[in-house]
């Protein structure tokens, strides 16, 4: 059947008049829908899904302005205005949550973001294809492990009583250090684990950008006497810049989204002080303690900040580098 239709196309590529017609806008909207009802039927599940699980919850966010209780539901609960938001601004605990979120995010922008770029550039300079392939294969693997497994591995390496690293410290006569339970190390450990898991995988996008750079540019640079460093400086780096800018913009827009799974698995009561972020707090307070309104306010606050940052960063980038998301 399939081959048959393809055959028809090649023999007679012109004038499928019946199909062309509805593209030129001769039919009324109702007529179009009636003629192409299958297309709209196929969209019904999509509508149902997005309305139920995206739009209804978005509207449900009004409980951030209400004193929600389960018996009264979304609609009947009492309005309280900005009470929850005011509580957020004034309570030092929330200031701490915002601070933790921003700090971990900043760590990610400073350390996790450039790591794959540097790695991609290094890989790009490797001439031995076999070596390049094997390094890539190994470095992509951690991406496919879940956060629970990554935590398991971190635990086996870093825990104070039985971790391999501390065993080695003991062997060398050094004092042991509890990487997983000490507040001073928490952010570094979480961010490092993120780099371990995603660094290799994130290079893919940059390697693709690198392979898109025209070889003639390198030839020209060589003719002009550019060594490898100069080639990197004047060909490779400018070639990567669009990809870097776009991804950085996205990261800035998601500054408040540090990654629930990544942080929550490493958290323990000892590290709440430095590691509790808005998302994990919303989970603990909202789901486990049923404080629905205040945690929704946190969520809304987060989205608004993210949106404002995204628009702002996009504007700055548009005027300075010419690259933009929208």
């Amino acid at each position: 059947m399939n081959e048959e239709t393809i055959g028809v196309t090649s023999v007679q590529p012109i004038q499928p008049a019946a199909a062309r017609k509805h593209r030129s806008g001769e039919l009324s909207f109702i007529g179009f829908v009636r003629k192409n009802n299958a297309l709209y039927v196929m969209l019904i599940p999509v509508f149902l899904y997005f309305i139920t699980f995206k739009y209804v919850p978005l509207l449900g966010s009004i409980i951030a302005f209400k004193d929600y209780n389960i018996f009264d539901g979304f609609i009947k609960s009492k309005w309280v205005g900005f009470q929850w938001f005011e509580l957020m601004y004034t309570n030092p605990q929330y200031v701490r949550l915002v601070k933790n979120t921003l700090l971990i995010s900043l760590y990610q922008i400073v350390f996790s973001f450039p790591a794959p770029i540097i790695l991609a550039c290094l890989l790009n300079e490797v001439r031995q294809m076999a070596l390049k392939r094997s390094v890539q294969t190994v470095l992509y693997l951690p991406h496919f492990l879940s956060w629970t497994l990554v935590y398991g591995l971190a635990y086996m390496m870093l825990s104070e009583q039985s971790g391999l690293v501390n065993d080695m410290f003991k062997g060398l006569g050094l004092p042991t250090f509890d990487f997983l339970q000490s507040p001073s190390a928490f952010r570094s450990v979480v961010v490092s684990a993120g780099i371990w898991k995603e660094m290799g995988w994130s290079t893919i996008i940059f390697l693709a950008a690198l392979s898109g750079i025209s070889p003639s540019l390198y030839e020209a640079a060589k003719m002009d006497g550019a060594g490898r460093w100069k080639q990197f400086q004047y060909v490779t780096l400018p070639g990567l810049l669009p990809a870097i800018t776009i991804l950085l913009l996205l990261k800035i827009g998601n500054v408040m989204d540090v990654g629930f799974e990544q942080v929550y698995i490493f958290l323990s009561p000892i590290t709440y002080e430095v590691g509790e972020i808005l998302d994990t707090y919303a989970y603990r307070l909202g789901i486990m303690n049923g404080q629905f309104s205040i945690t929704t306010a946190i969520g809304l606050f987060k989205s608004v900040i993210g949106f404002v940052l995204l628009v702002g960063a996009n504007k700055i980038s548009k005027s300075t580098t010419g690259e933009s998301l929208f």
């Binding site: 299958a38 629970t148 635990y155 989970y283």
Partner: protein, 293 residues
């Protein structure tokens, strides 16, 4: 002609290769350590004699994990969720993307905006949770499937791919009397292998690895997934379940650590086995959506 390489270049190459090899080792060593530990005896583990090679090899801990009902129950639950959820994901994404790939579809712009809007403005956690609760999905396998039935991002990927299929093909099919439903299954899907494989893998790995959704929606221990099982075993430190089973059998001779290692290894095995087959598709998929210029 032989390309001359300067001293500086040579030393850079040497440095570069060394650095990359070190990074690869750093990526592998934690895995090797756990594999080594899982095959080592309790004594060797207690005395911290295990680094990257099994010491006094034994399969004891694997036997206990393998004899543990809740481990297999969690594994089976995970397989069920991955299979059902991924199938639903694929069907809905393909069927929904096809109409939206038609530039002549009336109302297309509006519908696209309707979808993209949800990427920019994401609903907070609690209202989403309350909707799932209102639908009585809490503590049911469906809570892990239905709320994630479509990913807007994957759908946009799919639409972009479909748009590049030649419209003449569809015209011809229509002349032959095919309706849109048959076109999707008999023309679009077979012609879109790269995006199909990519979506399949993205969705499946996402479901396999997730622990947030189960944590959020499942309280019943009988319904826990593998990731939750590992979470409770290691992160939450409540390995009672497995430890009790062991104590009953051996008088508590096995270390929790040995069992945790064996569990990690068993839970990672499917991924490591599938990984070589998946890798090339994944690489294709990851660039499919990103480089559009």
């Amino acid at each position: 002609m032989k390309i001359k390489r300067s001293m500086g270049e040579k030393s850079f190459d040497a440095f570069n290769i060394t650095l990359l090899v070190i990074m690869s080792l750093l990526a592998l060593l934690p895995l090797l350590h756990v594999v080594a530990g899982s095959f080592s005896s309790n004594n060797a583990l207690i005395q911290s004699r295990v680094s990257f090679w099994p010491v006094e090899p034994t399969l004891q801990q694997f036997k206990y994990v393998a004899a543990n009902d809740s481990f297999w129950r969690a594994g089976w639950m995970t397989v069920k969720v991955v299979v059902i959820a991924t199938t639903l994901n694929m069907v809905l994404t393909i069927v929904g993307s096809y109409p939206l790939s038609k530039s002549y579809l009336r109302g297309r712009r509006g519908i696209m905006l309707f979808i993209i809007f949800t990427l920019v403005f994401q609903a907070p956690l609690i209202p989403t949770y309350l909707v799932v609760k209102e639908l009585h999905l809490i503590n049911s396998m469906w809570a892990l499937i239905v709320p994630g039935a479509i990913s807007a991002f994957n759908m946009i990927l799919c639409i972009t791919f479909f748009r590049n299929l030649p419209e003449e093909l569809f015209d011809a099919a229509k002349v032959d009397g095919m309706n849109d439903y048959r076109i999707v299954w008999q023309i679009v899907v077979p012609l879109s292998k790269p995006i199909m494989v990519t979506l399949l893998l993205f969705y499946a790995v996402g479901h396999w690895n997730s622990y947030f959704a189960p944590l959020l929606y499942i309280n019943d221990r009988h319904l826990q997934t593998l990731q939750m099982y590992i979470y409770f075993l290691i992160a939450a430190g409540s390995s009672n379940d497995i430890a009790a089973a062991v104590a009953g059998d051996t008088g508590g001779k096995l270390l929790p650590k040995a069992l945790e290692m064996a569990t990690i290894v068993l839970a990672t095995t499917p991924i490591v086995i599938l990984y070589p087959f998946l890798q090339k598709h994944f690489v294709k998929g990851a660039t499919l959506g990103s480089v559009k210029e």
